[in-house]
């Protein structure tokens, strides 16, 4: 331990390791169980994110200012107005628009509506900085079905989401708006092709296109309820940008930072479980083989000789392909083929220890075999074993990453390798989705490096001859 912290690389490695552990614990606590299948692989959850958007901080280096995704939700202050026979609830969302481009999309999501007799109406109006306003969209919640009893509940299980940018009704509303305000005749179809949001957040540039109109917008969402007990649970209005969050998104709009964070505990789990179990088996078999000699030794030696020489990756690929993509299977295989290498090393160490007189001396004292093996021989191999354990940790992480990269990762647990693979498969390398490719790779390298640094600090323990030189 002292050796570990006395060198520079040991200190850096230890600091990194602690950081890895803290992040992993945080992720385990914060993330829902079954994250991989229920959340990460569920496209509905990511629909409101822009797709393949680079990180928002790229704006700092870009001459053109990209729009960051803005999400407005019905949680803030609302204005309640009483009208004859109805209640009007008005949400005003203020948006200071400074980007040099139109939103990539806009969407409205409605959830948990319940009413007694008349279906509520929800309307979206955009009030622009030029004082003009567009009645963008109106939703009349679907009416009672035959035989259905009040209260009528709508959009509880599946929220109602409408992509305003692609909605024909919106297009026609905007078309009308352009006609009236700018005397610009443009058909609904053309508008849908050009992008409705360009017109909503811009002014015609005279060339048949639109120029972004910067300034303060207010998006007003009106909800009209016809009964005291009627309610609209949740409203969400999203202005989709072209940059997103800390680490951007992938083709499904998934927030890469969320997926990458989840990779921490998984990588640590793969690395540590594999190395700990491998080291344990390797050490025990090595000590037993070296100490007992005879038939036990021959059997262990032959088995480990053969297993240690099998090229791991092809077999790993084969098994993962044929038997199934399961993280535990992968770990099991890594262990099954990982221990023999250590067995061979430990065995030769034990033989060397045996060549001294300690074993004979202890035997003369009447010590049992297990006492000699684990009280006397094991402590002498322990520093080496510990260093090997650390050194073999990145190998397991890298092996899993490689396998994931070939598309053989466990789909229920997103790993860095899998994220990289989907980036590669989606042509990220050839079109330059660097934010999708670099961070997962970098995280793999940093995690592997952490253990390599620790191992490096332990090298003098393992190789005393080098210590003599320095």
């Amino acid at each position: 331990m002292k050796e570990l912290l006395s060198s520079g690389s040991g200190k850096i490695g230890a600091a990194f390791f602690i950081a890895l552990v803290i992040i992993s614990i945080g992720v385990i606590v914060a993330y829902p169980a079954n994250f991989g299948l229920r959340y990460w692989s569920n496209p509905v959850l990511w629909a409101d994110n822009p797709q393949v958007a680079p990180p928002s901080w790229t704006n700092l280096f870009s001459s053109e200012k990209h729009l960051e995704t803005k999400v407005f939700e019905s949680t803030g202050q609302a204005e309640r107005l009483s009208e004859p026979g109805a209640t009007r609830i008005v949400y005003r969302f203020n948006l200071n628009y400074a980007a040099d481009e139109a939103p990539s999309f806009t969407s409205l999501t409605v959830q948990n509506v319940s009413y007694q007799d008349r279906p509520p109406i929800i309307a979206v109006t955009v009030q622009r900085p030029d004082g003009k306003s567009i009645g963008l969209y109106q939703l009349i919640v679907s009416g009672p079905r035959p035989g259905e009893q009040p209260p009528f509940r709508r959009y509880y299980d599946t929220p109602f989401r409408v992509q305003l940018s692609g909605e024909p009704n919106v297009a026609s509303a905007v078309s009308d708006f352009l006609e009236q305000q700018f005397s610009l005749p443009i058909s609904d179809q053309d508008l849908l092709v050009k992008g409705v949001d360009q017109a909503v957040f811009g002014v015609p540039d005279g060339d048949g296109g639109f120029k972004v109109l910067k300034g303060n917008y207010t998006i007003r969402v009106d909800t009209l309820l016809y009964n005291q007990s009627d309610s609209v649970g949740h409203l969400k209005y999203v202005v989709g940008g072209s940059v997103f969050g800390l680490l951007g998104t992938d083709t499904l709009g998934r927030d890469l930072s969320v997926g990458l964070l989840f990779g921490f505990p998984v990588a640590l789990f793969i690395g540590l479980v594999t190395s700990v179990v491998t080291t344990f088996i390797g050490t025990v078999t090595g000590i037993v083989s070296g100490y007992m000699g005879g038939k036990t030794d021959t059997v262990i030696q032959r088995a480990s000789d053969i297993l240690a020489n099998i090229p791991l990756l092809p077999i790993l690929i084969f098994l993962a392909f044929i038997v199934g993509q399961n993280l535990f299977l992968i770990i099991l295989i890594l262990i099954a083929f990982g221990w023999p290498g250590l067995t061979i090393l430990i065995r030769s160490m034990v033989l060397q220890i045996r060549s001294g007189n300690l074993v004979e001396a202890t035997m003369t004292l009447g010590a049992s075999k297990s006492r000699i093996m684990f009280r006397h021989i094991f402590p002498q191999t322990a520093p080496f074993v510990f260093a090997t354990m650390i050194f073999s940790t990145p190998a397991a992480i890298l092996a899993e990453a490689s396998l994931s990269f070939l598309g053989l990762g466990d789909p229920s647990l997103p790993t860095w390798g899998q994220i990289l693979e989907s980036g590669f498969q989606n042509g990220g390398v050839y079109v330059g989705y660097w934010w999708w490719i670099l961070p997962p790779g970098l995280l793999i390298v940093i995690t592997a490096m952490t253990f390599v640094l620790l191992a490096l600090a332990l090298e003098p323990v393992v190789n005393p001859r080098l210590r003599r030189v320095q």
Binding site: S355, G356, N357, L358, A361, T364, L365, G366, A367
Partner: protein, 310 residues
């Protein structure tokens, strides 16, 4: 000269007896060929209670293997090993534990024969732990007393130290203390001083000698150095190629060696005498002894030589 006990073979009580013991090892030669290495090839010897027997020979003579056999660390290919007239040749490992409590060993290399990860106290205490002797307090007293016996004094100063903090001589004394703590009746000492500085060798030998006198311990002193054998032992057995070629009381064998190999061993010992440089030492080429396979003959009372023709 320290007082020597004159024990004629067969006199007094017997500690350990080997009867025509052979130890053969199989060595791989070719792909399928194996040959037999006869490390010990028919040796009989006795060690009486409280007697020091020196086993002298060069590397490869089988003296170390023979030493291991007297402790039953090895099971002989043939022959019998008796401890206090009880046959322990084929005793199972579990039953040997009692025997292990009564015989001990001191090894050549004080660096590799004690556990570098234990402190001195733990090393010396270990035999007591293994044999479940005494409670913690009794053990502590006994360990301290033993450390004093081997002159690691005051014991408190040494108890917490680790082997690498001690000099070679001190480490060897730790090895002796560990062998001594069970109050053994027999100790096999395999080259106990060959890796220790010349100026300290005699100190260790004197310590062993005193222990033999105060505790009446029998010793098998294995060495290549016939000069220390003369000083330290009551009797000497000379080994050559797995066999004993000459044995008898130390003075007799050394002052009047009969076997040519013994003679050569003696001639090869350098004496600090500057006139030596004007003459060559007599050297017999190894492999030129023709009496290898001959049996031991009692040439004079208690002095045995292989293949001696009167």
């Amino acid at each position: 000269m320290l007082v020597k006990r004159r024990v004629r073979e067969g006199e007094g009580e017997e500690m350990i007896r080997l009867e025509d013991v052979k130890m053969h090892f199989t060595v791989r030669k070719g792909l399928f060929k194996t040959t037999t290495m006869k490390a010990v090839d028919g040796v009989s010897l006795k060690i009486g209670k409280g007697e020091i027997l020196a086993l002298v020979g060069e590397s490869g003579s089988g003296k170390t293997t023979l030493g291991r056999l007297t402790l039953r660390l090895l099971q002989p290919t043939s022959g019998r090993i008796l401890f206090e007239n009880q046959d322990i040749t084929n005793l199972h490992e579990a039953k040997l534990k009692m025997f292990r409590g009564r015989v001990q060993a001191v090894f050549q290399d004080p660096y590799s024969s004690i556990d570098p990860f234990m402190n001195i106290y733990q090393i010396v205490e270990e035999p007591l732990v293994i044999h479940r002797i005494g409670d913690e307090k009794e053990r502590r007293e006994h360990v301290y007393k033993t450390l004093e016996d081997v002159r690691l004094t005051p014991p408190q100063d040494y108890a917490e130290k680790y082997p690498h903090m001690l000099s070679g001589g001190q480490r060897q004394r730790v090895g002796i203390a560990r062998a001594l703590v069970l109050n053994p009746e027999y100790i096999m000492a395999d080259e106990p001083v060959s890796m220790i500085d010349a100026s300290s060798r005699v100190e260790i030998l004197q310590l062993l000698k005193r222990l033999q006198e105060t505790h009446n311990i029998a010793f098998l002193y294995i060495t290549h150095d016939i000069a220390t054998a003369r000083y330290f032992s009551d009797r000497v057995s000379v080994m050559y190629r797995g066999r004993v070629v000459e044995s008898g009381p130390s003075e007799k064998v050394i002052e009047k060696p009969l076997h040519s190999y013994t003679k050569q061993l003696i001639a090869a010992v350098p004496e600090p005498d500057p006139s030596n440089r004007f003459r060559e030492r007599s050297v017999v080429e190894t492999g030129s002894f023709d009496e290898d396979d001959a049996d031991l003959v009692e040439v004079e009372p208690d002095h045995f030589v292989a293949g001696f023709k009167k």
